[in-house]
Subunit: 383 residues, 4 copies
Amino acid sequence: MLVKDPIRYAMIGGGEGAFIGPVHRTAAAIAGNCQLVAGALSSDPERARRSGEAIGLAPDRSYTSIADLIAGEKARPDGAEFIAIVTPNHVHAPAAIAALEAGFPVLCDKPLTDTLQAAFDIEAAAQRTGGMLGVTHTYNAYPMARQARELITGGKYGAVRRVAVKYTQGWLAKAEDGVGKQAEWRTDPKRSGLAGAFGDIGTHAFNLVEFMTGETVTKLAAELRAAVEGRQLDDDGMAMFHLHGGGRGTLVASQVCTGDANGLAISIWCEDAGFHWDQEHPNHLRVNPRGQPEQTWTPGVDRKYLGEPAMIVTRTPSGHPEGYLEAFANIYHDFAKAVRGETLAHPAFTDLADAMRGMKFIQAAHDSSAQGAAWVDIDGVTA
Amino acid sequence: MLVKDPIRYAMIGGGEGAFIGPVHRTAAAIAGNCQLVAGALSSDPERARRSGEAIGLAPDRSYTSIADLIAGEKARPDGAEFIAIVTPNHVHAPAAIAALEAGFPVLCDKPLTDTLQAAFDIEAAAQRTGGMLGVTHTYNAYPMARQARELITGGKYGAVRRVAVKYTQGWLAKAEDGVGKQAEWRTDPKRSGLAGAFGDIGTHAFNLVEFMTGETVTKLAAELRAAVEGRQLDDDGMAMFHLHGGGRGTLVASQVCTGDANGLAISIWCEDAGFHWDQEHPNHLRVNPRGQPEQTWTPGVDRKYLGEPAMIVTRTPSGHPEGYLEAFANIYHDFAKAVRGETLAHPAFTDLADAMRGMKFIQAAHDSSAQGAAWVDIDGVTA
Amino acid sequence: MLVKDPIRYAMIGGGEGAFIGPVHRTAAAIAGNCQLVAGALSSDPERARRSGEAIGLAPDRSYTSIADLIAGEKARPDGAEFIAIVTPNHVHAPAAIAALEAGFPVLCDKPLTDTLQAAFDIEAAAQRTGGMLGVTHTYNAYPMARQARELITGGKYGAVRRVAVKYTQGWLAKAEDGVGKQAEWRTDPKRSGLAGAFGDIGTHAFNLVEFMTGETVTKLAAELRAAVEGRQLDDDGMAMFHLHGGGRGTLVASQVCTGDANGLAISIWCEDAGFHWDQEHPNHLRVNPRGQPEQTWTPGVDRKYLGEPAMIVTRTPSGHPEGYLEAFANIYHDFAKAVRGETLAHPAFTDLADAMRGMKFIQAAHDSSAQGAAWVDIDGVTA
Amino acid sequence: MLVKDPIRYAMIGGGEGAFIGPVHRTAAAIAGNCQLVAGALSSDPERARRSGEAIGLAPDRSYTSIADLIAGEKARPDGAEFIAIVTPNHVHAPAAIAALEAGFPVLCDKPLTDTLQAAFDIEAAAQRTGGMLGVTHTYNAYPMARQARELITGGKYGAVRRVAVKYTQGWLAKAEDGVGKQAEWRTDPKRSGLAGAFGDIGTHAFNLVEFMTGETVTKLAAELRAAVEGRQLDDDGMAMFHLHGGGRGTLVASQVCTGDANGLAISIWCEDAGFHWDQEHPNHLRVNPRGQPEQTWTPGVDRKYLGEPAMIVTRTPSGHPEGYLEAFANIYHDFAKAVRGETLAHPAFTDLADAMRGMKFIQAAHDSSAQGAAWVDIDGVTA
């Protein structure tokens, strides 16, 4: 930690071989106001123990089950103040509900859970307990994504007219790519849930659309498919959608786009300016005002032209690139502050309501695709 | 001209205030093997005369009607060898049919014509007369578009899996933009035809998809609309489509994307590489082979790594940028050669069969949109 | 030609196998107001004849010597109105002086000539005859180079503080590259003159510095060398320099920078903005005003924000890239107008005075390098 | 920390209002194997106390003097294992020497110190004590800078022929920018030392040249100046230099280049490839092999084409950008490992020998400039 009296947190999942668990822990370290004090890092007891030892957890706070962690930390005066969930999707709901029931705020990896029904269960638990739940949609936590939102929703540039978002990766491009811990659970309906690529990365794209535009997607027509033979879940898909303000958009999410790494890119055209942002070049927001030269906005604590939402998530002077881990750190930083009761004007974590929308997006895309890309209202989907 | 014994051509349309007529004439000048000898530059006789004088036409070859031009040039031993048509869309068919009937090869601006029925009429005339007709889809005539086609269709990189093409402009973003000679006819169903943006630029995007992939689009689901109130034709739209080889794609065509200039960009992901090309940076083709660093291919007469299709349309050494006018010139250059009977392995002009597909695309997109974005087979559309 | 009554010109040099001759002819074709009517395309009579025939010259105007061309065209009522010189450097002076003496305006490829003494001879001939001479420094004829000049010299952004210009190519990177018509004369002191890379491309870089800043370089310290063993002329070099307004700069010119194509790039930092332009991306001028987002200015006949100097050399709407040949065409267009007596506010050709500065730059760089990179005043150099 | 048993460190400097102190602490947090346990954060006792409290130091380990910190930590069994120095330059030497004398390894911000004499004093102390000292030249710790070094020094691409490096910033562009804690000490000869911009950022550029080429700079000709009136130290300068292998280069370092943020960019041309890297786009290394398309190398734990030096400093999958703080973290990570006795094949910190070269570069540039840009041998400079 980098401040006095950091907020204590525990982690469920994220043991040996995990990808996103170490990312969460490094993000928390950068945030500086969080301290990892406990964990149930694996469902396998021996692996949980080894994983806890490796990252310096006290032996008595390296638990071998979710239930033990919740009970143990609840019982301690210096127990964790919130719980981070970084397991495969199908574990999110039981873990989150147990934590909420025990009074812990929950910071959960995306998507919220594996099925819409499980998401409704979490929502019910949150309502019942009054507990707080945040989800880590990393990409909206970048300074320039936040700057874009401020510019677009500020009204100066008129209504949103068209959106084009794509999230294209190539890491599952071939049948032989579907092995290894990460690939396996993400392509397994039992652990990933209703959707593959649309759940894993399509939700990020969807979240970014609603975040940046400040609008909701009302309906969509989608086609999902498994491009690689033998896959049970979609690894490739596309959608057309409507925004509540009348704008239209396209969304592509694919994990079989050979050569692409983590290609989340979005264009938003308003009546009086276009906005273009690409996660692989996160420090450059292109703004094209009508009739003027294109502008490139960049972060930096010295960039007086930035608005508050971008500035408060910026650490370094202009020209000192911040990246993915810093964006993730913004989420931890703000969630920890909220856990301690601080009200934030521009929290960097995604709240439960927005996370629920991501689950409805998955369901709607799935339903639409099953009906030959018929239009499906997102608000009307059922589990 | 820049060679001895250039091919003589006449122009229909392209008088005072025209945009594309001067582009054609400059393209022909760059091609070097063409010489403009006659014109019917306007349907208004006085304007036709003034326009002809301004560009140096001999008074007796500056005609005031299409019929006169065809008759006059046919009668001369040194008459035009082919006829270029650069009028608004609704004049394409009568002019082309008349020219074909008189034995002239025709080089026509895109889209082929205003309605699918008119296109069928041209097709019939061509079959009847055995005449040759080419269409100026400029963008596939860039060296790097041709290099991409060669790489993609060569088989080395596997099947096409996904395509994302967009053609976004902002020049009609506001109601007040719909004035002026160019804007007016393009937004007028009587002169433009069935489609606005989808006809004007969507056909370019569609053509590029089929050109670069070497495949045909089998069906599409599209939504077109007039985003600016009061417009009679679409100024904004999107589509999802299938390729005959199983690949899928999205297409966006819009003239209300504020801030965009001439934003035609395409990504094609094959099983073993991704390909990315952007018309505003036409000399840089990005190729992403699986597991290797991204490559940027550039044109140049010294670029020994280029294939023949790209090399034969390259004029300058690497690093000396060629642009839109040079791409257009390639079309004239090759059409003129074909007029003189040369058989070309890689002609830079679009032939009638491919131009007909563009017309079916317009009809299919229109039909799909009218049916709530239902899937429509392109080959099955009727006028 | 694309206008009535085009200006007639003759060409010296540019026969079979030449690089820059065809570029000049294509440029003139794009310009539209010029018509090639005669040539002495090679010093070899048979080659001259063949070359003239290939490009459609009338047999009686395809001359076999410079003297014949000048005499022949002078004698005709429809003779050439100006003469373009596209030979190797050592022929520039005799050809230009003969043409000037005969009353022809001269448009000469760069650098002005092979030696400073020869340049003084041309200067004397021009003064003696009152004749006009222009030089083709292509790169300052791009719209965005002209826009930069207007912004920088306009005073709004304060004094020029620092310049960094480089012109790096790789086509002579190896000993085996020094063969072929182009490479051979450019590396031969007898035909190229005092300098190799500094003469061939360093002069372009130097010209661009003075053009864009509107200032003169007062002194420089340079080191030139032959990086490839056995070369007689410099193929690689660098310099530091002072501007008359107090700014400082660096200049690199090299033809052994492997992997670079035609890498002319310049950065100019004024007190209140930085300006960055790269010839390989000529349609994008980056402007970095103090305390504001970076701007990217692009050409286009619809770009109302452009100044007149850029606008008058722009042919196409925004987003339709123009390139090297169009920049070159601007020079022909304007020189032809000047030949007919038009006074131009922003001529796209380089005049004799500026071309003389390029020759002094070569001499000064050579002298400085010979003295261990001592500072040399450019105005004070002697032949 | 993110591992068990992290290496304990103490920090000198870095209190309230400091820029680089928090950067070091965040870097150490990302590294994960370091734990801050003590500090003497300010020379002002009250500020030191407040600063220590703010970042969570135990009160008894928040010292008010360097001497106290060294004595206190030396006396504890759980005392710091190394000391980080992040003060203004003039404090580096006394602090480092005291720490070395007490047996602490030292990780010092750059440049090594204010004067060459002070650097010699540190060198003597290190030799006397056998102690270890590292310097934080952040930029060579980026994965792609390391990949470039591996490619360039691997021999496959031949000798280095030319280098162009620039480090341009605009934050001191105006007289009014010279206020604030950061600007003030950096423009004050008493605290910054012999050089301003050349010391502060020129040393980074110099270090990167020697790091990436694997060669030493033998001599240079430099001109430094204060572009903003009234400055006592250089804020702008340039140099030409020779490498020991025969290559030549230019170096620009300026803090008055308006509009630039942290513009460190380097091009290195070898006989068979060019290499281009820009710190503001640190995840993209352009490699231009002779006769092939340009390649863009990017980091990622899944990038099997990367060499070990780049891979071991990469944390995230491809497409998840890492930035400045991660590069800095690599230095802490490796220095901490070295403190515990691990021998590293590719340490991410700069060792004393290389840091000494940076000091000689400053002296040589200063001496050359004082002699009108005469050539100065770097190895031969004296304090």
